[in-house]
């Protein structure tokens, strides 16, 4: 069985973002881009399935600019076997992204397609189930653990108040979140080997976005608050403020 993992390059979560002069995008000046943290869990899940002998190969797939190759190289250094770059533009329209990814995935024969549960830039949390929708395959979201046996994937998923166990027939799609998978670091040997691993490049089959970002703004600054006091003596006054001034307790 082959596994494909769809990944995205995103600004590092420690980055302080700056809005570009056009007022509707972000400035990429000085921004450090990384593999989306949720995609790291998906890559780790795929590598563990490969190491367990369940999968023969792990292919990374991304939609993005030339620079996204750095992200693919990083995933290859972690242990993925090969990668595909779909040259194109990612927008906030996850449905457009899903169709571009699915057009490529439809040509492949992956038993399992994994994605991060969400990307930490647009926070749309939708591409996985949409890819599955195009492909007509079942999709399990927010998966913390996946096992594959006899053409069936058994997934544990994080839901409100607990963990659900879901089974789907392969081929299937799953989105992975934090849980069992602890992303590995790239070894020096992995980094060296990644330089010789193949990255196929293609033009993405793109559709026009069905939504437009008209503006991006900073959130309103919070009014500076005040220190009520120090130690347990301040508790009485704090509780009074929360009750009388704010009415929240």
């Amino acid at each position: 069985m082959k596994i494909a993992v769809c990944v995205k390059r995103v600004p590092d979560t420690g980055t302080r973002i700056r809005i570009a002069d056009d007022g509707r995008s972000l400035s990429s000046d000085g921004v450090k881009f990384v593999l989306n943290p949720y995609d790291e869990f998906a890559v780790e899940a795929a590598l563990q399935l490969a190491e367990a002998g369940v999968a023969d190969s792990v292919t990374l797939l991304t939609l993005g600019p030339e620079e996204a190759k750095e992200t693919l190289r990083h995933g290859l250094a972690l242990g993925a076997h090969d990668a595909v770059l779909l040259r194109g533009e990612t927008t906030m329209d996850g449905w457009a992204t899903a169709q571009a990814l699915a057009a490529e995935l439809a040509r492949r024969e992956d038993g399992l397609v994994l994605l991060g549960a969400k990307a930490v830039d647009d926070d749309q949390q939708q591409v996985g189930p949409m890819v599955a929708g195009v492909l007509g395959r079942p999709c399990v979201t927010s998966v913390t653990e996946v096992e594959v046996a006899d053409s069936v994937a058994t997934c544990r998923r994080a839901v409100e108040g607990g963990q659900e166990v879901v089974e789907v027939d392969l081929p299937a799609v799953a989105t992975v979140t934090k849980g069992r998978y602890e992303p590995r670091y790239a070894s020096l040997r992995g980094i060296m080997m990644a330089k010789r691993k193949p990255i196929a490049e293609k033009e993405a089959a793109q559709v026009a976005p069905g939504l437009v970002v008209e503006a991006i703004e900073y959130p309103p600054e919070r009014q500076p608050g005040r220190i009520v006091g120090s130690g347990t003596e301040a508790v009485g006054e704090l509780v009074r403020l929360l009750r009388e001034e704010e009415g929240v307790v």
Binding site: D123, V134, A215, G225
Partner: protein, 322 residues
């Protein structure tokens, strides 16, 4: 006719309170268009449903069937296509987040998730939604019809608790496609009563709590605050394995908008602040008076969380008992 469909959330035979916010958001759009609001109830419910919608569409599914998101999504998409709604509104709960993209894909339209404001401008739905976990807010125009959105809990005003004037049943499609989804079981988490993203009050702990053994201090404060309170955690705490990821607040966890947020022994890393800065009231308790968390907190107490937490729990319990 420009009607709006609101999709309610059900759990354990009841409709969740957040569904009135979903209907509230849908009503705002419907009013601008002069249309009406239908509320779809996917799942078994007992008694009358008072959500403030004009019409209720019941879909009495067994727990097993309601657990198959493709079956529910197929039924909802069928209803949307049959009626021709101009907008569909979900709540961005765990279930809404899973369901909405499946429905949007079936309708061949985009989806805007976690929306904090929605209006009709020049006949289009225009929404505001946080990006980069709240480090910025995007204004987005939905060009495709229907406009499909999910709303962030605790932001929209609830529709009045009024019964609908009519009720119908929602047809369940025979062929759901991708129908191999089987829910085998559910394991409730220890000590998780309410999801952090839906809670009205959140008590979050950071690395300064020094270990999972001290979490009972936060749990006691949560219990004192009542049933609408939940526990949260910083990334450092989850990375250390002290608490589950479901409780993590911040850019690699959940973005929350509670009425009241307690940040206890949390220094206030940028990725945490992004996830909670839209709370109505923020209280910080930290030993370090220079901690960045005090820069966003409305009220702060400088001091030892281990001493302050029991006193705070006691004072709030006393207040609520009177």
């Amino acid at each position: 006719m420009k009607d709006v469909l609101a999709v309610a959330d059900t759990r354990d035979g009841g409709v969740l309170g957040v569904s009135r916010e979903t209907v509230g958001a849908a009503s705002g759009l419907a009013e601008a268009w002069g249309g009406s609001v239908d509320a779809a109830i996917p799942g078994a419910t007992e008694g009358e449903v008072a959500l403030g919608a004009d019409r209720v569409l019941r879909m009495p599914l067994s727990n097993e069937a309601a657990g198959n998101p493709d079956l529910v999504a197929g039924a909802l998409a069928g209803q949307v296509q049959g009626h021709g709604y101009s907008a569909v509104v979900f709540a961005a709960t765990a279930r809404g987040r899973d369901l909405a993209p499946r429905v949007a894909a079936r309708l061949d339209v985009p989806l805007a998730t976690d929306v904090i404001a929605a209006s009709v401008e020049e006949d289009d739905v225009v929404v505001r939604r946080p990006v980069y976990a709240g480090k910025a807010i995007a204004r987005v125009r939905m060009l495709a019809r229907p406009a499909v959105i999910s709303i962030r809990p605790n932001v929209f005003e609830r529709a009045p608790s009024a019964a609908a004037s009519s009720a119908d049943a929602l047809a369940t499609p025979a062929d759901v496609g991708a129908g191999t989804y089987r829910v085998l079981g559910f394991e409730p988490s220890r000590d998780v009563a309410l999801d952090v993203a839906e809670a009205e009050i959140i008590v979050s702990g950071g690395r300064g709590m020094q270990g999972p053994d001290h979490w009972h201090l936060l749990a006691e404060l949560r219990d004192a605050l009542g049933e609408t309170a939940a526990l949260g955690a910083s990334r450092a705490v989850v990375d250390a394995g002290w608490r589950p990821h479901a409780e993590q607040v911040g850019q690699t966890g959940k973005t929350v908008t509670p009425k009241l947020y307690f940040a206890v022994a949390i220094s206030g890393a940028i990725q945490h602040l992004a996830g909670m800065r839209t709370a109505s009231v923020i209280v910080a308790v930290n030993r370090d008076a220079e901690a960045p968390i005090f820069g966003v907190a409305d009220y702060g107490i400088v001091g030892d969380a281990f001493e302050i937490l029991p006193e705070l729990a006691r004072a709030i319990r006393e207040l609520r008992d009177n």
